[in-house]
């Protein structure tokens, strides 16, 4: 897996995840009449998606280099576990007091925490077939 292909996977998966997050944010905000834009900015969403996908791609790169393709299953499991663990932070997150309906925040942020992993896992396997060989 070359660095160039690694970047291709990162940009594709992060791009898809970012679009999914932004669209979901728009739909959710309109459906529930809430505005969390001061906390969950588009910039933060993009950075989060790129960081998440970069970390996952790095894990893949290092894992494959270390023990070959058999590490993929374990890395995938780790990605899923870490995505689940990351939602604990959202449940305990304290929003600024001027933001109304904080009880609706987890409904927006929790699915978003899974978008980078979903996108990465959807993209990485077909791209790996080309990339690894």
């Amino acid at each position: 897996m070359s660095i160039k292909n690694l970047f291709l996977i990162v940009f594709t998966s992060a791009g898809i995840a970012s679009i999914a997050c932004i669209v979901y944010d728009m739909l959710y905000s309109q459906a529930f009449y809430v505005d969390f834009s001061t906390v969950l900015t588009t910039g933060a969403t993009l950075i989060g998606c790129f960081l998440g996908c970069s970390l996952m791609a790095t894990a893949y790169y290092l894992g494959i280099k270390w023990k070959g393709e058999k590490t993929i299953l374990w890395i995938n499991l780790l990605i899923i576990i870490l995505s689940f663990v990351s939602i604990i932070g959202i449940l305990g997150f304290q929003l600024p007091f001027e933001i109304e309906s904080p009880e609706l925040f987890p409904g927006l942020a929790i699915p978003m925490h899974f978008f980078p992993a979903l996108s990465f896992l959807a993209v990485v396997n077909p791209m790996m077939k080309v990339v690894v060989k």
Binding site: L91, G92, Q94, P96, F97, I99, E100, P102, E103, P106
Partner: protein, 176 residues
Amino acid sequence: MKKIKLALGLLSVLTLVAFIVVESVSWKLKEDGYSVNFKGGKVSGILKGMKSTILFDEANPEKSKFSVSLDVTTINTGNGMMNKHAQGTDALDAKQFPQITFESTSVTKKGSAYEATGKLTMKGITKEIIVPFTFENKGTEAIFKGKFSVLPKEFNITKSGTPDNLEIELTIPVTK
């Protein structure tokens, strides 16, 4: 006879003037500008839904009267789960006691500030408290600022995680 009538008339006018002078000024709450913040330990938040009757005169603070209520269901800690817990039966019990009220019994001047002694009712329990406050008069508008502490256990707030001491900070802009 005329002199008596004149004297009585003068007395009435003087009494009326004196009454007007000592009558406290009525202030109306500016709905959008006030804040009631609370903080203690890891808990912090705000309360809204304030309704108030404020009679206050800097020159005659002893004639002042405060009657303030807050809506418990408006509590916002910035976290949905914590808001729900705060309104639960072992915390503020918003269903049974939807309001927190304060009725002043006396107001005194303390240096450049003031102190309102009164009855705070929370979760159906009434306790006497003292609220030190300042008053910034800007003509037709003014701001009351106060800070005081309450002990949640005194009001039967026993939920685990509730701090022993809650500091309440008030900023109440008013207009004539």
